[in-house]
Structures are given as structure tokens and as C-alpha cells.
Symmetry: D3
Subunit: 237 residues, 6 copies
């Protein structure tokens, strides 16, 4: 039995609230159960130096956790003077995931910066962030179309993410913290709306795991992401 | 006429929502109009090195702004590798303000860390943070009393804060961003529930200002803080 | 009785020695009793990026303390790799105070950098720094006028600063370290030559303090700053 | 046709030279074609703070690239003052991969630090590093057994890694730089000697990729890692 | 002809003023012409971690330059967040030079920190710093003897330093800035009171220089240091 | 008797292997006994900001040590976030030594970056690095000539380096670690092919040393560098 009494293939309640920031071109407060991530998409004219003059745009992401997002207070990264390896790993993943479904040329020489700040964490913050980031990105690009900044829709597909893992020997969908911290193996799947693979990160936490287990996790992820994709559609109208 | 059409001595709508974080010993989401600050109070056993063995506790504060809390996206301090001078100035102010109304000996050798994270900014983030921080601190110390960690209430008084300024020649209460960025002078007042001065920071932004103007600002602040203190009382029950 | 046997409204001996650095466009060694601050004003062609092309200049300040300026040796900020929050707070204050009395447009696109380095500290380093900084700034702008770099005097008024505080229940002027570290409340006042308020920073160190006490401190400050303004006049000839 | 004229399922020439450092408890110079990584395993008495007194050891890894390991010189991370997100991601991966096959309790309260320094890079540096790291770790733990520091062999299994990717529409094994930088998708597989999954990191670089493509990459990886595991066995004798 | 019209073997006017800081156990304001360095020696109980429990003390040094010590303002190292390579090189040299003439065991487990801050620079700041540092160190150790903290004098010998160089083809003693920045070669000599070599750093700035030239510089240095040693003796009484 | 049984004036076996990096314009693996340093010379179009538009080039150097280059593992500088004072001192020395024998104007506005990474250390890493750096620099400039990037050879002379020291009272050539860490005095000599002095750094480690001892060390160095210069010639063909 899972701590939340969910069945193995059931997501936590997921909400995607839009327009939660009055300044950002796109924004979304995403919750997966007790996990809450505030996402904003900010449009900047101009691109990073390595892209100047290349006639294309860029999408990048930053990730942070409020110090008391977790059971015990963590140190504030700004006060420590650097972002942890975990933070950098996650924000790089979010950025790659968004760029996989964006036609960068259609953006023109502009950058969209996605900020994902975890207000409360209960497992799955990176997958919630990706799922909400697509919503914020969709709204920001719609703003660009509406304002006439661009004429071609740069969004090629949806993208969403979910974690799966082997908990007490059973493959389960959408790990919450108590499961995540005790899982024998876990995997984060980032898939497009059409089901293609954007990114898979699978780790045997306590032991190596078998290919058969991995395939079961993959099946769970496809089911979960199918549901997330519908929720995204509803959120962006 | 003020941009918000408020009279000179009228606060923006203020809300103090408590228990907004499921892990923190005390928490408060404070809004002053469009300014929103999420405050948590976290209890740690132990004190900083300079207090070890002195039989007293400590209260400290950290402050941060989400990158898109503002009209244009600011750089993330964690990514830049340091907190700005402004950030440090504000978090030092919040910490001093809380310590002014806490009996540190009554805490025992424990630290309460107040985190104030600005989700959206429209002027007055430091005064909103102080006002909400007291609520979070009150809840955290009540938790300590309820759990039997301490037996004597360490809270000596309430503390709240408000900004005032001279906008288009008129002294006004509770500046929003549009006023703040054009004020000729502004002042932040931190007062106790009984009306004593904890901290005053007054600055002539565009010109020096007269003592008479300063006294008018002080009167406005006392009125505003009187109202905030009542709202705090209601919030903590 | 004050440790120095001064009356409540008496300044320490103050000296303002000019031309103490052979390279700087303006310089001043300021002493308030045992507090000694070496101030230089350095002229640079060009302004910071945020002002480029705006047809105005800038005045900025940096502050530092030699490691053994104090009773016990402090750590060298350059070796620690960052400036403390206190240092940043003070240097921001000095910069704002100078800009309050300078016509930045009259400088042209030039920056004056004020460096305030504390050789020995006995309380009141920030107020001594401000008082001396004005002298160095006055000399540097006179140099600019003499050299024909500018034709209009950019100095609009004098500015000086003093600390006051409540020590053993008595409001006193110009706190030295022994008083400062035991004061119940203290306040730094930065006023123009004509008596207007540039900046007030008042803090209840051990308790909140009353408005009546604050008004007495303000009166002391005006008296003290009146004397400092005369000394500045004499120093710049 | 691949740039190297290899068939799709053929590894580059791989060498694992041991005892290349006269001080380290274990060492290995691993080459995959033109990719060369120098790996040392260093034994330290003591464990990181979070493990003290828990009766177990730790294995950690650090990764670096010499500035001119690549076609154009990169900046030295020590001179820049921080490790890139990519570096941190890779060294965290190497550490997890090693810990997956080590009985940490059998180490006692000791740490083995694996240093992987890339002397020359031509794609696949992280997989070469993992493959060589196991060899260095095996030698260091054998040293511990030989010296009588431990009595039970802490190595539970072998671990090796390889990259695969879709290059010009064809799934291929062991990408070199020219392939890697143009791959439509790539995946790094870390498997145990018995074929279980330790870690999978798969990324659609230019487009999402299908599950069928992923399964083909997985098959290639198992073949390649099978060969690497034999080479490791030969290297450690 | 030298810019200062000095003969080749003549020092600039040198002064060593003691007790210039009211807190430091030893202090000295040293001037070599227009070069002015403020030196303090601070006694701390305790030693750095690598010496704990070894029954000996330590002498260390830090060096800094005020931003406007030079013709054009340099950046403040504390603001930049790190000490330059030049600064570190110099402070390491000062520390080694002092330790060469101190019996570290006689200090007990105590550290003396020498701070050398350049108020004004006109060439030769490191050699002035060393010469003044010995004076401050002598006074600090005398304080320790006087206070009964130690019973055996830890000072084994004097140490002083001077620069020499080849300027316009002529070997000269004690380079000032104008000579230093145009010298074909220069050398810093640190010698004991008895004439032994503590440290030599010789550099061909514009060309290699011959052994014969080097020997002439060495002779000049011995003469100059002989004079400095007498001035040190007079300064410490 | 020296630990290696070498006579006092005998170098360790020295090798200079070229073309050890397939990307660098020049490269050399230099060994002095067990000391191994990998050197690359990398050509960049463009010069540092302080030289732009001056019609000359630049040669700079960076130095690093792999963490387990030494008997006990040292901390990785990239992970610590800064280069030690020792590292900076050495890389500044290498850069100056190379520039002493290069006609910077003949390079055009280009920079050559020399990277010296110590794979294994047994004393004398800086002198090995300098000796190998010249070889890499020679190859890189020959590449520039061959490619027609420049027409005039910028190399004015050879440069090589060796350490000498007083070990157990006897002046000896080319200290290995065991000697170096116990030497009473040591000196690093950097000389040109024609025997002129580029740099001398001499330090009394345990005591001051006499001028006579210094002269003996100088004689040893000239002998050793004479041999190194021949090896360099052979290496570059």
C-alpha cells in the first residue's frame, strides 16, 4: 500500500493555475499534491552572446527552492553564494525540455526565461516544474503572437514530465517524498504530447534494476503524462 | 491624486494568511495590495557560534525576491553568486526588528530563522515582510509553548512596519511602486504595538526634506501601524 | 557621566586634514576623537553602464576598515572574498548622502568615486566618513572647475553627519565606541548645510524608544552638524 | 557511414592502463579512441560530516577537463572560480555509479575519492570515466584488502558505461565527438556486470525520439558494455 | 640621472614611526619617500588548524592597497571578491620573511598577524612593508615579554628589504615608481641583520640580465639594507 | 648522499615528448624523474582588453595540479572555487618567463595560452613546467609560421629552469620532493639559452643562507640549464 493509499498508476491531484503573476508574460502555479511550484515565463529582447546574429531565439530556465520548502530548512543558495549541483542539473533539464518543443527560429532574437521556484516540496518538483513550465511558455508565446511580435507559432508540441519508481518492490507512478526517499529505483520521464521521448533519467538508488522493471515504469509514465497533457490543454484554454 | 486614488492616509488592502506552509513552525502570506511576501519561521535547535553556551537564543532573517517579482525580470541572486547590498540591508533590518520584541533568553539555545520571499513586488516589500514576519514568529513561538519546548512566552510586544513618503509634494501613507519610484523623500517606520520606535530609515531621494515633513510622515506611520497591529492580532487569533 | 567626561551635547575633537594623498583629485583625513578615516575622491571619465548616454554623471562610494582598526583584529574582507552586509550598508549610505547635494548633470559623463578607509575606529566611522567625504568631494569638484573640465559648480549644498544615542538613559551627541556598544538606542543623522534631512537611521538597540527621545536626539544632531558644517567650510578654504 | 567507418555496433579501441600514478591506491588511464581520461582512486581515513558515526564509508567522485582537452581551448574552472553545471552533473553521475556496486558498510569509516581528469576529449568522456573509475576503485579496494584495512571485499559487481545515439537516422554505439555533436538523440547507459540498470540518461537533442529507437539504443549499449566488462576484468587481473 | 636626482646607491628618505595604532600590540607607519605603508602586528591566542597541538606559534601576513594609493584608482579587492595574484604573492613573501627570523616555538601556541596596508604607493611597497613589519613584530613580541606571556625572546635577528634595478642601463638602489615601471631588470632582496639571504626575487623585465649586473644589484642591496637595519634599531629603541 | 644517489650536480632523467595532444598548436609532456607535467600551447585570435589595438600579442600561462598528483590527495581548486596563492605565483612566473624570450609585436594581435597541468609531482614542478612550456611555445609559433599567420619568428631565445638547494648542508642540483621538503634553502633559476637571468627566486627555508652558498647554487643552475637547453633543441628538432 502506498503512503497516500493511491493505486500504483494514479497521479496525485494536479492543478495548473494560470496568470498568477501580474508582470510575467506567462505564469503558472502548478501543484502535484503538496508539491507547489510557481513558474513564470519572462520575455527579453536579445539573446545570449553565443547566439547573437544567428537569427534565432533561446529558451532557458532557472530553478530554486525556498529554504523552508522542505521538512527541515535548507540553506538559501543566494546566501551560500552558489547553486548546488542538484539545482543546476534540474534547471538544465527544464531548459532542454522546453527547447525540445520550441521552434527557436520562430522566436526571433528573443529569449524566454523560465523561472521555477518551489514554494513547497513533497517529491517530484522537477517534473511538476516542467509540466507547469510548458503552460507558462505557451502563454508567453501566445502573448507574443497577440502583440504581433511574432507571426508564426513557435510551439511545436506539448511537453510534460512525471516520475516513477520502484517502491517496496512495486513500480508506482508519481512518487511523493516518502516514496521517493525510500525507492529502490526511480526514473523521470519527459515526453512530448505525441508521446516521443524528450528525456529519461533513470537511477538505481539502492540496487541496479532490471530492464523489465524499467519497461513497466515507462508504461506508467506514458499513462501519467497522457493525463498531464490533457490538464495542460485545459489550463491554456 | 494618488495613482490608486487612495487618500493620503489610507493603507492598501492588507491580508495576513497563516499556515500557508505545511512544514514551517510558523508561516504567513502577507499582501499589501499587489505586493505579496511569503514568510516562514523555522525553528532550529542550536544557535550561531557567537552565542554558544550563553544560555540565550537568536532570531535571524533572510530576504529574497523571485526574479520576476518585478516589472522586468531581475537576475537570480543564487545564480549571480551573491546577495545584493539591498538584500542584505533588508534582511538585517527584518532580523533587528524581530529581535527588538523577543526575549532571547526565553527561547533557550534555539534559533528561529525567518525567511521572507517576495512573490510579487509593488513597493513596500520590506515593510510587508516585517509585518508578516511577526505573525510567523508569533505562531512559531506559540508552537514552542504548545509543545512544551519553552514555558515562558518570549514575545514581548508586537512589531509592524509601513513606508511613507512625499509624493508630488504631499506626504502619503504606504507607497506603492509608482509612488515609491517618484517620491521626493521616503521613510520606513518600524514601531512596536505600543507605539515605540524600533527603527526609522528616512531618505531624501530627490532633495533634502524638512523636519516638518518628517513629522507628518511619522504621524501617518503611527496611524497605519495602528491598523496593521489590529490585523496581526486578528491573524494570530 | 560619559566615559570621556564630555557633556551630553559636545562633539569629540574633530579634525579635517586635506590633501593627504598626492594622487587623488580630493582627499581628507578626518578624525572624530580616536576615529580616523582616510577619504579620497577619484575622478574617472565615464559612468556606470546604467547611465551611459544620459548626459549626467555619478558619485559612488566604497567603505572599508583595516583589519586592526578595531580593538580585536577583524577579518580582511578582501581575503574573505566578500564585503559584509554592514560594509555595503554603509557605503550605500555614503553614496546617497553625497548624491543628495550634487547636481549630477553638472558633472557631465564622469564619475567621482569616494573611498573611505577606516584606519582606526572608536565609534561613528560612518558619520566621520560622510563628513570627510564631502570635503574630498568639494576639493575634487573644485579641481574639475579649475582644470576647466566643467564650468558650473555641481555642489548644491554641504552635507555632514553625526550619531546620537541614548546612553544610560541620557540622550547624548557623537557616541564613541564604549557608548555606542552600550546604547539603548542610537540614530545617525545626515543633514545638509541648510539643515534639511538627507537621511535618518534610528534603531532601538535594546528596547524601542519613544518619540520624545527621538526628538531630543534630533535636536542634538542639528547642533552637532551645525558645528561640523563650519569645520568643513574652514577645511576647504 | 560513420566518420570513423566503424559499423553501428562497434566500440572504438578501448584501453585500460593501470598503475599510472605512483601515489594513488588505485589508478587507470582509460582511452576510448582519442578520448583519454586519467583516473585515480584515493583512500582517506574518515567520512564526510553527514556520515560520521554511522559505521559506513563513502565513495565520491570529481571530474575535470584540462583546458585544451577539446578542439578549442575552454576556460579553466579553477580560474573561473566555479565548476560548470555540466561538470557537476557528470561527477555526481560517476559517484552514484560507483556507489551502486559498493557495499559501503564494508569500507568502514573511510572515503574513496575518485578523480577523473580528461586529458583529451573526443566524445564519451563521462562513460570512459565511469569505466575507468571502476578499475581504479577495484585496485584501491584490493589494496585495502591486501593491507588488512578491511576483511570483506566491498565490491559487489562491476559497472561500466557507454553512450549510444541516433546519428543520421541510424542508432549507433559509442559516439565520438563528430557524431555526438550532430546526433538527433543520445543516451548514456550505466549497467552492472550482470546487466542491471544503474543509470540511464537519454536526451532528444534535436527532436523527441521514439520508444522503438530507445530500445535499439539499449540493445547496443548492452552489447558494448558486455565488451567493456571483459576488458575491465582483464585490466584488474 | 635618476628622476629624483639621487645617486645610484642612495635610499629615499625613510621613516619608521611606531605606535600609530592604539589597539595593535605593535604598529609602524613606514615611509620610503612617497611610499607609505601602515603596518600592525596583532596577537591572537591560538594557531591555524595545521599547527594545533604542535607546541609552536605562527606568524602570518596580509597585504592590501587602498584603491587610490596609486596614480589611477584601482579596484577594491574586497569589492571584487578576491585578492589578486600580486597581492597574494606579496603577502606570502612578507610572512616567510618574518618567520625566517622568529623562533616559532618561543611564541607558544599563538599567532601574530601582520597587516600591511599601503596608503600611498610610489614603488617599493613590498620592501617597505617588510622593513616596517619587522618593527611592528619586534614591538608586539616585546609586549608579550613585558606582559609575561612568554619568557624567551622569539626574535632571532632583524630582517629588512630593498629593491634594486637596472634603470637606463645603470644599476640603482631603491627604485621609485617612475624607475620601477621603466626598469630593464629589478630585484627585491630580503636580508637579515647579519647579512644572510632570506629571499631574493630577481626578474628581467625587458630583457634577461647578466650575472655581473646581478652581483652589482646585490652589492647595492647590502648597502641599503645595512642602513635600514640601523633605522629599525633606532625605531624600536 | 642524496636520496636518489645522484651526485650533487646531476639532473634527474629528463624527457620532453612533443605532440602529445592532437588539438593544441604546440604540446609537450615533460618529465623530470617522477615529476610529470603536461603542457599545451593554444593559439587564440585576439588579445586581452589591456592590449587591444596596440599592435602586439601576448603570452600567458595557467598552472594546475591534479588532486592526486601528490603523496596525499589535495583539494581540487575548481571545487574550492579559487586558485591558491601558490598556483597564482607559479603561473605568473611561467608567463613572465615565456614573455622574456618572445617578440610580442611579431605575434600580431594574438594570444598564446600555455597550460601546465601536473599529472604527478616529485619536486620541481614549476621548473619542469617552464622547460616544457618553451617547447610547446616553440612548436606553436612554428605552426604560426608554417600556416603563414606570421612571417617573422617571434622566438628570441630559449628559456629553461631548474631548482637548486642546500640539502643536509650540501648545495645540490634539481631537488626532488624528499630533498625539497627538507632543504635549508632553495632557489629556482630561470635562464635564457644564452645564460642571461630571466628570473631568480631564492628562499632561506629554515635559515638565512650566505652569499657564498648562493653563488654555488647559481653555478649548479647554469650547468643544469645548459643541459636542459640541449634537450629542448633536440625535442623541437
Amino acid at each position: 500500500m502506498r503512503p497516500s493509499e493511491r493505486l500504483a498508476d494514479v497521479l496525485r491531484p494536479v492543478t495548473l493555475e494560470t496568470k498568477v503573476n501580474r508582470y510575467a508574460e506567462g505564469s503558472c502555479l502548478v501543484t502535484f499534491g503538496h508539491t507547489k511550484v510557481l513558474v513564470t515565463a519572462s520575455l527579453d529582447e536579445g539573446v545570449p552572446p553565443f547566439l547573437r546574429g544567428k537569427g534565432q531565439g533561446w529558451v532557458t530556465a532557472e530553478y530554486g527552492m525556498l529554504p523552508r520548502a522542505t521538512h527541515t530548512r535548507g540553506r538559501r543558495e543566494a546566501a551560500q553564494g552558489k547553486q548546488s549541483g542538484r539545482t543546476q542539473e534540474i534547471q538544465r533539464l527544464i531548459g532542454r525540455s522546453m527547447r525540445a518543443v520550441v521552434d527557436l527560429k520562430a522566436l526571433g532574437e528573443r529569449q524566454i526565461s523560465i523561472d521555477c521556484d518551489v514554494l513547497q516540496a513533497d517529491g517530484g518538483t522537477r517534473t511538476a516544474a516542467i509540466t507547469g513550465a510548458w503552460v507558462a511558455l505557451r502563454l508567453a508565446t501566445r502573448y507574443m503572437l497577440d502583440e504581433g511580435l511574432i507571426t508564426k507559432d513557435p510551439i511545436l508540441d506539448q511537453v510534460a514530465a512525471i516520475s516513477c519508481g520502484v517502491f517496496e518492490g512495486v513500480p508506482v507512478l508519481d512518487l511523493e517524498y516518502e516514496e521517493d526517499s525510500n525507492a529502490e529505483a526511480d526514473a523521470n520521464f519527459v515526453l512530448t504530447g505525441s508521446g516521443d521521448i524528450v528525456e529519461i533519467q533513470a537511477t538505481g538508488e539502492k540496487r541496479g534494476f532490471t530492464r523489465a522493471e524499467f519497461e513497466t515504469l515507462f508504461d506508467l509514465a506514458r499513462k501519467g503524462i497522457g493525463e498531464l497533457v490533457e490538464l495542460q490543454k485545459a489550463a491554456v484554454g
